[in-house]
Amino acid sequence: MIEDLRDLPHGTTVTADVCLIGAGAAGITIARELAGSTLRVCLAEGGGMQYEYQESQVLYRGDSIGVPVSLEGGRLRFLGGTTNHWSGRCAPLDDVDFRRRDWIPHSGWPIDRTELDPYYARARTVAGFSSAWLSDADTLSYLGIALPSINEEWLKPFLWHFTPAMKDAPAWRWANAYGKVLRESSNIHALLHANFKAFSTEKDRSRVRNVTVTSLNGVSATIFAKIFVLCCGGIENARLLLLGAEQNAGSFGNENDLVGRYFMQHPRGPAGLIVSAERMSRVQGQFNILRGPDDLELEIGLTLTPQIQEKERLLNCSAVLQYQGDPTSGVTAAQDIWRSLLTGRWSPDMGEKVGRIAGDFGEFVHGLEHRLSSGHTLAREGSTGIPSRSATILLDLEQAPDPDSRISLSQDRDALGLRRVQANWRLSELERRTAARFTTYIAAEFARLGIGRGRLEPWLQDERIPMTGALQETYHYIGTTRMADDPREGVVDRNCAVHGMDNLYVAGSSVFPTAGHANPTLTILALALRLADNIRR
């Protein structure tokens, strides 16, 4: 059942076995897993069924005092949460991401990749994949791609899968995909416009007794449950724990002042340029977004091998190539002609453009086929399918966990009277060094293979150039309630239970101790499925 708190009587009491706070990727996944069980589940969502700025989104306003963080734009506060602007790009974390790496302080998960592998398999289904993924080798074989013989001691190809469901976006959103389950399951009670207001605990603060939720029009409800799970995303999970500790004079995992610290993202930015005198058609057909088995969209890029990460004491990272279309190609000539036909404006150089198509016919046919099969129209902007002589190396970087990169509470208060969030996101020189070395390896290998020559961006040549001009946030908010067996090192334990609390759990990327380079959604889902299994037991 889905209800709107605004339609309920003020002072309503809800009793459940499990209270999930937040209906994004993690919250909906856990609710979906518990649907049809004997457990009564209350799913409290601060937003409604769609984006509403004044009614909900405005509550995400906050202060960003470090590297800029889009506190309002990076998160979405309605059913489905931030999946509502998810690109559908999926990959699991690498083995190395789970390891304690002595060159990266505060690295290491208390679990390893094998612990998550069975959940990754299930997570793919939740994410909208209808079939199992082939191995990378089988995928490349299916695509008929023989990648350049890159030195595998240094670099290795990396494949991302795009969930096919996102092809139908915005029609396919999590609220649409899983709304029916929430609506029709007799043991699920979803409450919309139910914003967190306060935690109440037992006297010794070891158990949450209830949570008060309220709508912006003043209707409040109290939810009693045996188990509470925060599923509000990497920033809001920390904020709610900090508010809980403040409201109850302690605990909520913050005995060691760790809640909100180690705030990370995947900084993304251009790191270099590959240029070639010749068109890079072969590479363009390999390191790109391609159509794979079962019509899946795939992206092939590169990562640094774990051996090189260890040898050079670097972070994990990945790169994709973004090609600049050759303006002299037959495809661009065809684009111009097609646009002229659509607009009825005939330019005098049409003959020259037809000549360009004829003179570039082989590349024209190949490029057009690639462009159209990738779902691009001929008229649309963008370089897909257009032969290229240069490509930008675009990086996604892991960050070194930094306790001073943190989410805390601001002195400002929101419409509910709660302290807003303050983000102090920090980058470190290890990110810059990793980007420089990784890009150098790519450029050197591409030179060796005769693909083209590489040049690093200025920010990788001069440490005086601020990284903030080159790197952007990716809205992947990670690490603020990190997982560790030792309460002195983390906020939650290996089962995502808040240290020092008997019945409070955290789901989402806030529990990742390190971030790897991969988009976090698949790992969020895997951990949510694992937590759901534990709750069911």
């Binding site: 013989s149 240094w154 005198a277 050197a444 060796r448 293979l449 020559r453 690093l456």
Partner: protein, 146 residues
């Protein structure tokens, strides 16, 4: 412009034998081989001279610049590698034991640099160490250093 493989040099007077003209051509040959040839194989002959010239024009002028630009890269390389700021030492580093023709030796050295990841980043360009040293020699031959 025709292309002649750099002449073989003996044990003595190697540095003097390396005329600037040959360095330029050697540099072109290196980039040309890397661009058009089998990934890092050594050419049996210089049968693709036209390709090399075309590549010189496009790559060298459009992306790296002309001889003066390469000399500039050499100056920057030497600034961060002052231990190599010596024409004789550089020539020794580049010409090896003199048993191979210079061009062949340089090509082999560049191939080995890539395989061993012995690279230099000069003004952002990722160069094989040997390429960077060739630029350095060009700079020295410009008269800035002896």
């Amino acid at each position: 412009m025709g292309f002649e493989p750099p002449r073989q040099i003996g044990d003595h007077g190697a540095a003097r034998a390396l005329e600037r003209r040959h360095w330029l051509r050697a540099f072109v040959a290196l980039f040309g081989v890397l661009s058009f040839g089998p990934p890092f194989g050594v050419r049996e002959s210089w049968s693709e001279e036209a390709h090399l010239e075309k590549w010189l024009r496009l790559f060298s002028v459009d992306f790296l610049g002309d001889g003066a630009a390469l000399s500039h890269l050499g100056a920057i390389y030497l600034a961060s590698n002052p231990g190599e700021r010596n024409r004789k030492r550089l020539s020794r580093l580049l010409s090896g034991d003199g048993t191979n023709p210079v061009g062949l030796s340089l090509i082999e050295n560049v191939a080995r640099d890539w395989l061993e990841h012995d690279v230099a980043v000069v003004e952002g360009w990722v160069l094989a160490r040997t390429e960077a040293r060739i630029c350095a020699v060009l700079h020295i031959m410009d008269g800035a250093l002896v």
